[in-house]
């Protein structure tokens, strides 16, 4: 947006010096920055828990098919919407990282205080996944290409792929095989068998089926490819939502 430049004054200015102007803007920036962290902790967290929450809550749900496919592409639209607002109006390529960090803060706070501190699940059963590397790559792609299209294709696809790589060190210990009454299962499965939840029937129906699912193998690569392509698609949807919200800047309507 262009500045007022040589236009005549429309009102008496509140600031009398350039230093005052800078101080006013700086205080506004600081307050808004903190506000945005709390806002995205709320919005992105509730959005995440109600779209892929079950996969994020428990290690046994963190499988090699649904988790690594659903989480990246369903979590893409909200950062993409924020990305459009921040980049189109403020030239800030920070949305992906900001939302991912906000989400990690919110989920870790919850897992420790509530899942562990109230429902008494062990922390190594309820740790949250991270999207921070995905967000960094998305933002870097935007900063380097300065293009929504290339960011969608390259950054969006990378977002889908990197999710599993970023979380690989976290999930690996729980994919070790173990013997349970003569049946082979992963440690994550074993945790789930010991902590029966109301979600256990759905876990058995959705996750604990199929023959190639438990320890990885080629379904991982197929899932990653699907996650990458789907993330490109949902990036576009999120971008459109962000565009729609920026259009509300000029939307005022008369009082009835």
């Amino acid at each position: 947006m262009a500045a007022g430049g040589q236009l005549p004054l429309r009102r008496e200015p509140a600031a009398s010096t350039a230093e005052e102007v800078q101080e006013i803007y700086r205080w506004f920036d600081l307050v808004i920055a903190v506000l945005l962290v709390f806002l995205f902790m709320a919005l992105y967290h509730i959005y995440t828990m109600l779209t892929v929450g079950d996969w994020d809550f428990w290690t046994d749900w963190k499988d090699n098919r649904w988790w690594i496919t659903l989480t990246p592409f369903l979590e893409m639209p909200m950062p993409a919407a924020a990305l459009y607002i921040f980049w189109s109006r403020f030239r800030l390529p920070i949305a992906g990282t900001l939302l991912a960090v906000s989400l990690v803060l919110a989920t870790w706070l919850n897992r420790y205080v509530n899942m562990h501190g109230w429902a008494y699940f062990p922390l190594n059963f309820v740790w949250p996944a991270t999207l921070i590397p995905c967000g960094i790559v998305l933002d870097c792609t935007l900063a380097l290409t300065q293009s929504y299209l290339l960011t969608g294709i390259v950054g969006g696809f990378a977002w889908g792929i990197i999710f599993y790589l970023a979380n690989w060190p976290l999930i690996t210990p729980f994919l070790q095989p173990t013997d349970l009454h003569g049946v082979m299962a992963s440690l994550a499965d074993l945790q789930g068998y010991h902590y029966i939840r109301t979600g256990t029937p759905e876990y058995l129906r959705i996750i604990n089926r199929g023959t190639l699912r438990t320890f990885g193998q080629e379904p991982v690569y197929l899932s990653l490819a699907l996650a990458g392509f789907a993330s490109v698609l949902t990036y576009g949807i999120g971008l459109f939502i962000g565009w729609a919200f920026t259009k509300t800047q000029f939307a005022w309507f008369k009082r009835v």
Binding site: R10, A15, A42, D54, R89, G199, F245, Q249, A251
Partner: protein, 285 residues
């Protein structure tokens, strides 16, 4: 000595007519009132932490069986008390903002308008902070409880705090912020801002969604999947928080105009030539 009523005195205070306060330009350094942010967010944090401690103490010991006498004593009484507190808080905050509203915008100085705008932003900060407790902290806590304990009532220890306390708290703060802008700032007095309406009404709609959610859970008492379709309306209305993105853009225009005295222009951006709010906000003067 002039005798004035309480309402009149409060109204004058609400107009911020203290010339000495405005003549000291130091206030510009912290024009978004930090006291409102600290006190408002501090009170919200204190009551939410108190609720969390109460849950820690009484949820497992008295909150499992809704037919038990201890459930009635520790949880249903708490629910009724919270309803009463919410009614009083809503009446007090909305009433105070409305009763102390200034009646005349014609003599409003830019400095005073900036000070009011700062207080408006500070109240929005408290609103967002309350939304965080409801949308993030207690929302996922609800998942942890209902993945562990099968419900036998809609008024479970997690629901009482989440749906019937933390939701109303942010609704009260959101409407307070909306009323403050509508009664103190000419721009928001003359027109309704669409993104601001979305940002207040959208999260408010989570409360009607609670009714739908609880109605549906009377069929499916288990929380077999937290990502179940019955919860999708919560997700839908979570997007309404992005209305604050549109409001932020409006706030940047407003701040620029207040600080520099010049109109914000949008030539070459696909927007209007000049900020449309500059015209209609004079209607109320």
């Amino acid at each position: 000595m002039e005798t004035i009523s309480f309402v009149e005195r409060a109204s004058r205070l609400g107009q911020g007519s203290s010339e000495s306060a405005l003549s000291d330009r130091q206030w510009l350094r912290r024009w978004i009132d930090p006291k409102v942010i600290v006190v408002g967010s501090g009170v919200v944090a204190l009551v939410m932490i108190a609720c969390r401690v109460y849950q820690q103490v009484y949820a497992w010991t008295a909150g499992i069986d809704s037919t038990s006498p201890e459930f009635q004593a520790y949880w249903m009484r708490l629910l009724y008390a919270l309803f009463a507190i919410e009614a009083i808080a809503a009446a007090a905050s909305w009433g105070a903002v409305w009763m102390t509203r200034p009646r005349d915008f014609s003599k409003l100085t830019t400095a005073e308008e900036l000070r009011r705008f700062g207080r408006f932003v500070a109240i929005i900060f408290c609103y967002v902070f309350a939304v965080f407790w409801a949308g993030s902290f207690f929302a996922e806590q609800d998942a942890s409880w209902h993945q562990t304990v099968v419900r036998d009532t809609s008024f479970t220890p997690s629901h009482i705090i989440l749906f019937y306390f933390s939701f109303p708290v942010y609704i009260i703060l959101g409407i307070t912020a909306y009323l403050y802008g509508m009664t103190r700032l000419p721009r928001f007095a003359a027109r309704h801002s669409l993104p601001w309406v979305i940002a207040v009404a959208g999260p408010f709609m989570l409360l009607p969604v609670v009714a739908y959610n609880e109605w549906a859970h009377s069929f499916w008492i288990l929380e077999e999947r937290f990502t179940a379709p019955v919860h999708y309306w919560f997700t839908f209305f979570a997007w309404s928080g992005f209305g604050l993105g549109g409001l932020l853009l409006q706030a940047c225009d407003y701040l620029y105009e207040l600080v520099t005295g010049k109109p914000q222009t949008f030539v070459g951006t696909g927007g209007p030539k000049e900020d449309p709010a500059l015209e209609f906000e004079r209607e109320v003067a």
